[in-house]
Every structure is written in structure tokens, then in C-alpha cells.
């Protein structure tokens, strides 16, 4: 309706007064949590070492001046700030005394624990990182194998020139393509900390091959083949918030198969007497079941895998159903033996349920679990674990027989 003459005159007054009040409120907010982009220091890598009983925190901060294609100064792309203190938070705050910008942790990509710290206790560090409101939980946690976290964060890298982002991408890729590497993100670790069914966590290891001191210089990233490189390898077994030990590459691979984290990988299979075949794993699924007999639990893990033939160096013909069957069987046997060996090794050396078998039992037999829980560590040591591997070969690649194959008849 058309505003009546009287109402029409009063309405704008009331409205404009209200608007004026609201506009006034805008001024009073003060924008307390406003942070302009050029006042924050974007932290992409965080490392914590233990030095003289103190936390030695090092942060790798982006140098925004050096990120555009036009920047020509010889500044580095990132800067490293280190402070020591008896608590993590204090050390983080003390960084403001040496850094021009406030630490901004939301974009943390990788968090490196020094090996010494990991051997001592990681509880405080994890509590701080999971409690801080700014920190997201999607970054990777790794343990520096045989060196300081701060050393790893001061290495210059190629291709991905921001070192922390390079480490993140490396782990992302390797965890997907190569079974022995496993990427553990903060969120997964937090979940495991809250798991009360006997599971202990694992973390992946990061190390340096080559000359550490040399690759910390600017020159090293100008070489095609620098004197040293960062690599991921080995899985760290954690027990009671402490590093209990490292799994070898083979054991790591088995572990990743057993917890169903393999996406793609490679498998070597013997063929005949001295031949070999290499299979590319195109997908693997692990199904684990628990059964209880006479109050004693036992585990069965069935791994079904699809694979393609990548290499075939053997005197036999590949183009026969028997040969395919033979390859499938020997692959299954080999993997089965390897997996069983790893389980035995972990059971006896660490007595740490890194596989999460306890949780499996709890899920299926929650009442039984209450009885088993008090001496789970001992039970785990002697837990019978049966492994079954089913390999299915789908494709033989773009050639049929091997190139130098001669038919015997």
C-alpha cells in the first residue's frame, strides 16, 4: 500500500535513527580480531627439539617478498626463527622477540618432532597443538630420524621451493604411491590419543641422506644433484607417548598393508628359479575379523589386491592361465610370509598394538574386551594372527611376451 501521509512521515525518522545507531555500533567494534595479511607471519613448518631439557621451537615462516615471479632479490623464500623455553607456548610467544610478524599457525603444513624429544615424551607438545584454536589438524606429523627438527627446517629445496610445503607434498605423494611410507596427520593422531582400546600410534620418519651441512647453504639448491636430500622412510612405533623404535622398510610396508592404507605400490615376485616379475599394485583392501574360541581371541586379516604386470623377466611364457595363476600364488605367498613376520616382530619386540587389534575385539565383543583389557599387552604378544592374501592380476601391460622370449618348442 502507498504509505499514508502521516505514517509515511514518521517511518523514515525512526528508521534513520535506527540506522544511525547501527552505523555508530560499527565504529565501536574496533575489529579486535582483524589481522591484515601483511601483519601475519604465515608459519608453514614447525619443529620442536629437546635441548638441555628445554623445548627448542623453530618455525619456518613465509617471506612474502620472495613469492612472486618478479622478485629478484637474493632473499630466501622462508625464514627460520628459534626460541627455547620450558614450555612450548612460551617458546612460541618468545619468537615475537626475534620475528617481525606474529606467528600464524593455521597454514601449518608439517610438524617435525626431534628424535630426542620423541624418545622423551610428546604429550605436552601434542596437547598444545591440539588445544590451540588457530592450528588446524590437517598437517602431517613426522619424526626427524637421527637429526634435529630445526636442521630439517633449514634445508633449501628445489621444485617446490618452500621447504615445508615441499615436505608436505612429498609425503602426500609417497603415501599414495609407495606402500612403505605412511602419512599421519594431526587429526589421526589426536583420534588415536583418545582411543582407549590398546592401540598405540605410529608416526612416519623423515631424514636426510647426504651431507646435511652442505645442503643448508643457498648454493645447494642451485645444483641439479645437491649433496644431500630429504627422504621419508621408516615408521616410528610410539608407546606411552614415547618413541619405542623404528620399523624397517619391509616391516613398514607390511604394516601399511595390514592397516589398509595402501593405495598403489609395487610388489616383486620370484618367477621360476632365477626369474622375477614385478607387479604394480593397483588397489588393495584389507578386511580384518576377530573370532573368539574358548575365550581366546584370534585375528584374521584378508588382503585382496588388484595388480598389473610391470616387469616380467622369466624364461616361461606369460601368456597362459597357469602362469598368471602361478604369479598370483607366489605373490600371495610372499606377501603373506612378509606380513606374518612383521606381526611376529612387532608382537615380540615392542608389545605395542599398533595395528588396532584391541579395538577390533572391542567392537565385536565389547563385554569380552573388559575382561581382556587389563593384560592386553601380554595377550597381544601371543595373539594368533592369520594372514590371507588374494592377488588378482588384471592386465599384462602393453606387450604380451617378454621381448627376448624364445618359444621352447
Amino acid at each position: 500500500m502507498m504509505p499514508s501521509s502521516k505514517g509515511g512521515r514518521e517511518m523514515p525518522n525512526r528508521k534513520s535513527v535506527l540506522l544511525l545507531c547501527l552505523a555508530g555500533l560499527l565504529l565501536t567494534t574496533g575489529c579486535w580480531d582483524r589481522r591484515e595479511l601483511n601483519t601475519i607471519g604465515i608459519v608453514v613448518g614447525l619443529g620442536i627439539d629437546l635441548k638441555d631439557g628445554l623445548f627448542d621451537v623453530s618455525v619456518q615462516m613465509i617471506n612474502p617478498n620472495q613469492q612472486t615471479s618478479t622478485s629478484v632479490d637474493s632473499q630466501t623464500k622462508v625464514a627460520l626463527y628459534k626460541q627455547k623455553s620450558s614450555t612450548v607456548k612460551e617458546a612460541m610467544r618468545k619468537i615475537s622477540a626475534i620475528s617481525p610478524r606474529i606467528n600464524y599457525l593455521s597454514h601449518l603444513r608439517i610438524f617435525i618432532l626431534g628424535e630426542e624429544l620423541a624418545k622423551e615424551d610428546i604429550e605436552e607438545v601434542l596437547d598444545y597443538l591440539s588445544r590451540d584454536h588457530e592450528v588446524r589438524s590437517d598437517f602431517y606429523i613426522v619424526i626427524a630420524k637421527g637429526l634435529q627438527a630445526s636442521d630439517l627446517l633449514s634445508i633449501l629445496t628445489q621444485i617446490d621451493t618452500i621447504p615445508a610445503i615441499r615436505m608436505y607434498n612429498m609425503l602426500n605423494l609417497s603415501a599414495k604411491m609407495w606402500a612403505p611410507t605412511l602419512g599421519i596427520r594431526m587429526i589421526e593422531l589426536i583420534k588415536e590419543q583418545g582411543n582407549h582400546y590398546g592401540k598405540t600410534s605410529v608416526l612416519s620418519g623423515i631424514g636426510v641422506r647426504g651431507d646435511l651441512e652442505k645442503i643448508k647453504t643457498k648454493l645447494s639448491d642451485e645444483l641439479i644433484d645437491p649433496p644431500g636430500r630429504i627422504y621419508y622412510g621408516g615408521i616410528a612405533v610410539m608407546k606411552d607417548h614415547k618413541l619405542a623404535g623404528w620399523l624397517s622398510d619391509t616391516d613398514s610396508e607390511s604394516y601399511v598393508y595390514l592397516v589398509d592404507k595402501v593405495k598403489y605400490s609395487v610388489l616383486q615376485v620370484p618367477c621360476g628359479e632365477d626369474g622375477k616379475a614385478v607387479l604394480e599394485v593397483m588397489g588393495s583392501r584389507t578386511k580384518r575379523t576377530v573370532s573368539l574360541s574358548n575365550g581366546k581371541p584370534s585375528i584374521k586379516a584378508v588382503i585382496s589386491m588388484k595388480a598389473d604386470v610391470s616387469e616380467f623377466i622369466c624364461e616361461k611364457s606369460l601368456l597362459s592361465a597357469e602362469m598368471i595363476d602361478e604369479l598370483e600364488n607366489s605373490a600371495s605367498d610372499k606377501l603373506k610370509r612378509q606380513l606374518e613376520k612383521t606381526v611376529k616382530h612387532v608382537q615380540h619386540k615392542y608389545q605395542a598394538d599398533i595395528f588396532g587389534f584391541g579395538e577390533l575385539i572391542y567392537r565385536k565383543y565389547p563385554k569380552e574386551w573388559k575382561r581382556l583389557e587389563p593384560d592386553w599387552e601380554q595377550l597381544f604378544k601371543d595373539l594368533p594372527v592369520e594372514v590371507e592374501v588374494k592377488v588378482k592380476i588384471n592386465h599384462l601391460g602393453t606387450v604380451n611376451e617378454q621381448l627376448y622370449y624364445e618359444e621352447s618348442d
Binding site: 502507498m2 567494534t29 575489529c31 582483524r34 591484515e36 595479511l37 601483511n38 600464524y104
Partner: protein, 521 residues
């Protein structure tokens, strides 16, 4: 008695002539031709018209030759006896009837006695004939002035579709609509408004389809108008809208006869104002601001996709700068790391907070746009070059604004041009600044609150008794075929029931049955 005498024309030609020249104060465009009418008898007479408003050729043909030159040689029409001027008292009513019915070869001739009507007719391009001894005047409609020819409307161009646009002449405009709807039910009614400049206003609707209470409402609101001059339909638009302060247009307008015809066919009412090519369409709802004539002139699939693009552009044009401000000053964690690093490196060395930076750029852009419109066309090119250089390059190179901000502002500007309704893009331009202030003080939460307030406001609007958000809120399933997307023409069996549910059938079902039939095996 005296007042009625003042209102009515005098019976003395001399008095009348005196009165006219007094009222018009000797305006030079008034043409007077006094002569002696020699039909039946001899009477002093005068022809008056405004030069420039009448078709001089026709005046010569129909008035001068038939009254002044012609009749003296004519026979007496009744008796066949040649006319001999005699000084007898003429029978005026017979004489006038004779003039009106037989002697003036003009479409519309009217007898009038009141002075106000006399002036009104004179000003709207009639030729007036006064006779001495009679207090009436004959008005012959012979108007004809220079006007623009039909041309393609600049504001609503189409790639495919009719090229005709409305002109400044109300009669031409109503004819353009009439040509598209050859139905006897099309009513074109002139409205008698209290407008001192005498501007003509007409409404057009389809009898039996348009809702009678909406027609009444339109007529009622028009009758409330009492204004000195009406030059453009926007004045009328503001006067008849129910919401005095809303930035959203609750009256549509168009320059295209096909759009007006389609609106009338759907049961809406078109309001024509003389002197402007912009025709108002009421009632109007929000979703129509996103519809363009071309949606229906090209195939339905691309029409639908482009319509979705417009909805996206609406949000980009309104919200992009505010989202940029909110994310870069409050919620840096929302961006992917690499993108954040890239934006941070661009912001490096920029001395202003993001809000000030955005505000400065947006205002610069608005200045450039306004300059581009007001400048003479030949200089327009210069403005755009200067604008591009100043904003695009120099500001970034000098480190005063970041390159990302230039991208945001340009994208916003281009998106606002995608909207087919110019009204809506003005609304969006204004709201953008409010959202930017909200984003700078409260971040995403501010934007969210702003959007909620906007939705509440939109839902509270009404256009001539129809809720503004009709088809979305209240949700109407039957109208979804032409809301977010446009379905093929053969699927639209009924007319949109937005404005009326009378006479709903658009086409028969035959074609749909043929197309939907499963293929033969």
C-alpha cells in the same frame, strides 16, 4: 455566474482572441488565422494552433482549403443552390454540425466550450476553430511533430529477436504493442491524472486475464498523483511503488514492445507515459530482474545456463569484494596455503588495510563508470584508457593497491554488467558497499547477517499486492519451469501463475505428447 462566465468561452470572437493572447502572453509559436467563413452565411472565424505541434500540410489541406478557400465556391450543401453571402443571423448549431460532419476532412473533431479544455487541446496539437457569435470551439486533431524513428533499444539489446524499440510518442508505443497482440481483449485506457504539464499516461492490459483488483489498484495509485510535470516514467515509478525506501525495484520497465506484449499476455499491466520510450510493467517480482527477452529467443538449454550465470553474477557483483576483505583480514585459514601465500606476497608493501584498499578501488571504478556515461562519446575512449592505466597498472606498480584487489574489482564490475536489468545492477552497486563495511567490521559473520537481513527485506516487499519473492517464497512448484532455468517452450503448457490464475492455458498438449513419446522400437 461570473466564475462560470470566466470558465466558459465567450461568444464574441474578439473577446476570445483577446483572452487567448493574454493567457499565452504573446508566445510566438501561436499561429492565428482570421477569416470569413462563407458557408450558408458569412461569419467571422479564426483558426488557432501552435506552430510545430501540428502537421502544417494537413492544416493547409483540411482546414485552410476546405473552410477558407473551398466553401465560398461551393453550393449550399442542403439545397444545391449556390451560396450567396447574406447577412442573416446564422443558425450556429446547424452550422457547427455541418462543419463537423461534412466540411472538415479530419479524423477527430470535437466541440468544446470550456476555456481549460480549449487550452489543453491547443497545447496538445489540435487546431481550434472559433466562430464569432458562438461560445463553442471546434477542435480538430491534426497533431504532428518531428519524432525519432523506431530504433533498436540501447539498453536491452539482443542477438536474436525483434529490433524495434519504443519511441517517445505514446501513440506509436501503444500501436507497437497492439500490433503484437491483435486481440480485442487488449485494453488501452488513457488515465486522467492531475499532472499540470498535461502529460498523457495510459495503461494497457488484457481483459479477462489481468486481475481486476490489480487493475483497480494501479488506477487508484495513478489517481493519487498530483504533480507539476512528468518527464520520465521513473518519476511515475517512484510515485506508485509501495516501498518508498527499498533499493530494490518493485516496478519493471522495458524499452522493448515484445517484452511489454509478453508481460501483458501474462496478465501484467503496462503503463505508458508520453514523452519517454520506457514503459513500466507492474506487478513485478524479483526473479524477473534476471530474465531477459533473449532467454526465450534462443534455445532453452543455453537460455537456462545463461540465466544461472546471471544468478551467480548477481552474488559475485554484490559479495566478492566483501568476501575478499573478510577472508584476508579475518579468516586467512579459509584459503588454500598456496593461494594465501600468493595473495600475501601481493599485499606486501601495500600501505592500506584491505577495506580501505577495496573502498578506494570501488569508488575509483564508480567514478570511471560515471565519467564514461556522462562524457561526450568521443572522449569516452580516453577515459577508459586513463582508467585502465591508472587503476590497472600504475596503482599496482606503485604498490598502492595489490594486483589481487584489481582482479576482484574488475570481476565485480564485469559481473554487474551481466545483469539484464539496469535497475538491479544499481541496487547491487549500492549494497556492495554496505556488505564491504560489514565484512570489514565483523568478517564472514557480518556478511552472513547482512544476507539474512537482505532476505528478510526481500521477503517483506510487495509489488501491487504480489509478494516480491513469489515462486521462491512463497514457493510455487508450477512456476519453477521458468524461474531458475527455462524449460523448452513445448513444456510450458500454462502461463506463469505469478500474476493471475485466470485464463491459464498457454498452448495445447499435442506437441508435448509427441515429444515425450518413447521412441519406437
Amino acid at each position: 455566474m461570473a466564475s462560470s462566465q470566466e470558465k466558459a468561452l465567450s461568444s464574441s470572437l474578439k473577446h476570445n482572441m483577446q483572452w487567448v493572447s493574454e493567457v499565452l502572453g504573446g508566445s510566438e509559436d501561436l499561429s492565428i488565422r482570421q477569416f470569413r467563413l462563407r458557408v450558408v452565411t458569412s461569419v467571422e472565424a479564426a483558426v488557432l494552433f501552435i506552430d510545430g505541434l501540428v502537421n502544417t500540410d494537413l492544416v493547409q489541406e483540411s482546414i485552410i482549403s476546405s473552410l477558407i478557400a473551398g466553401p465560398s465556391r461551393l453550393e449550399n450543401l442542403e439545397t444545391g443552390v449556390p451560396v450567396i453571402p447574406k447577412l442573416i443571423k446564422p443558425d450556429y448549431s446547424k452550422l457547427l454540425q455541418l462543419l463537423k460532419e461534412d466540411l472538415l476532412p479530419v479524423g477527430a473533431v470535437e466541440l468544446l466550450t470550456e476555456k481549460t479544455i480549449f487550452l489543453e487541446k491547443l497545447m496538445s496539437g489540435n487546431v481550434l476553430i472559433l466562430l464569432d457569435g458562438h461560445s463553442g470551439a471546434l477542435a480538430a486533431e491534426l497533431n504532428g511533430w518531428k519524432e525519432r524513428t523506431l530504433s533498436e533499444p540501447d539498453s536491452e539489446t539482443v542477438v536474436r529477436g525483434p529490433r524495434e524499440g519504443f519511441t517517445e510518442n505514446i501513440r506509436t508505443n501503444t500501436a507497437l504493442v497492439r500490433r503484437r497482440i491483435k486481440s480485442p481483449n487488449l485494453r488501452i485506457l488513457q488515465q486522467n491524472l492531475k499532472i499540470k504539464s498535461g502529460t498523457k499516461v495510459s495503461i494497457a492490459y488484457l481483459e479477462g486475464t489481468a486481475l481486476s483488483h490489480v487493475i483497480k489498484e494501479v488506477e487508484h495509485r495513478l489517481s493519487l498523483i498530483d504533480i507539476d510535470i512528468l518527464l520520465e516514467s521513473n518519476q511515475l515509478e517512484e510515485l506508485i511503488q509501495e516501498e518508498g525506501y527499498s533499493p530494490f525495484p518493485t516496478v519493471n520497465h522495458t524499452e522493448r514492445p515484445d517484452v511489454a506484449a509478453s508481460a501483458i499476455q501474462e496478465g501484467r499491466i503496462a503503463i505508458f507515459v508520453d514523452g519517454t520510450p520506457i514503459v513500466l510493467l507492474v506487478p513485478s517480482v524479483f526473479i524477473q530482474l534476471f530474465q531477459s527477452a533473449e532467454d526465450y529467443y534462443q534455445s532453452w538449454d543455453i537460455g537456462s545456463l545463461i540465466r544461472l550465470l546471471r544468478y551467480a553474477s548477481f552474488f559475485i557483483a554484490m559479495l566478492l569484494p566483501s568476501i575478499y576483505i573478510a577472508i584476508t583480514t579475518f579468516h586467512q585459514e579459509m584459503l588454500p596455503t598456496i593461494l594465501l601465500i600468493s595473495i600475501a606476497s601481493q599485499r606486501e608493501g601495500v600501505p592500506f588495510p584491505a577495506f580501505i584498499e577495496a573502498l578506494a578501488m570501488e569508488i575509483t571504478f564508480e567514478i570511471l563508470r560515471e565519467a564514461g556515461i556522462r562524457m561526450p562519446k568521443t572522449i569516452g575512449q580516453t577515459v577508459s584508457i586513463v582508467g585502465t592505466l591508472v587503476i590497472g597498472q600504475a596503482a599496482v606498480e606503485a604498490g598502492i593497491v595489490s594486483a589481487a584487489m584489481v582482479i576482484v574489482v574488475s570481476l565485480t564490475a564485469i559481473s554487474s554488467f551481466v545483469l539484464p536489468s539496469f535497475n538491479l545492477s544499481i541496487t547491487v552497486r549500492m549494497l556492495r558497499f554496505i556488505f564491504m563495511a560489514l565484512a570489514a567490521s565483523f568478517g564472514i559473520i557480518g556478511i552472513a547477517v547482512g544476507i539474512i537481513a537482505l532476505c528478510l527485506h526481500l521477503c517483506s516487499l510487495k509489488s501491487f499486492t504480489i509478494p516480491y519473492m513469489t515462486t521462491l517464497a512463497p514457493y510455487e512448484r508450477s512456476n519453477q519451469k521458468d524461474t531458475l532455468v527455462r524449460l523448452p517452450t513445448w513444456m510450458m503448457l500454462t502461463r506463469p501463475s505469478l500474476f493471475t490464475r485466470r485464463n491459464p492455458i498457454r498452448q495445447s498438449q499435442v506437441l508435448k505428447d509427441i515429444k515425450m513419446k518413447p521412441p519406437r522400437k
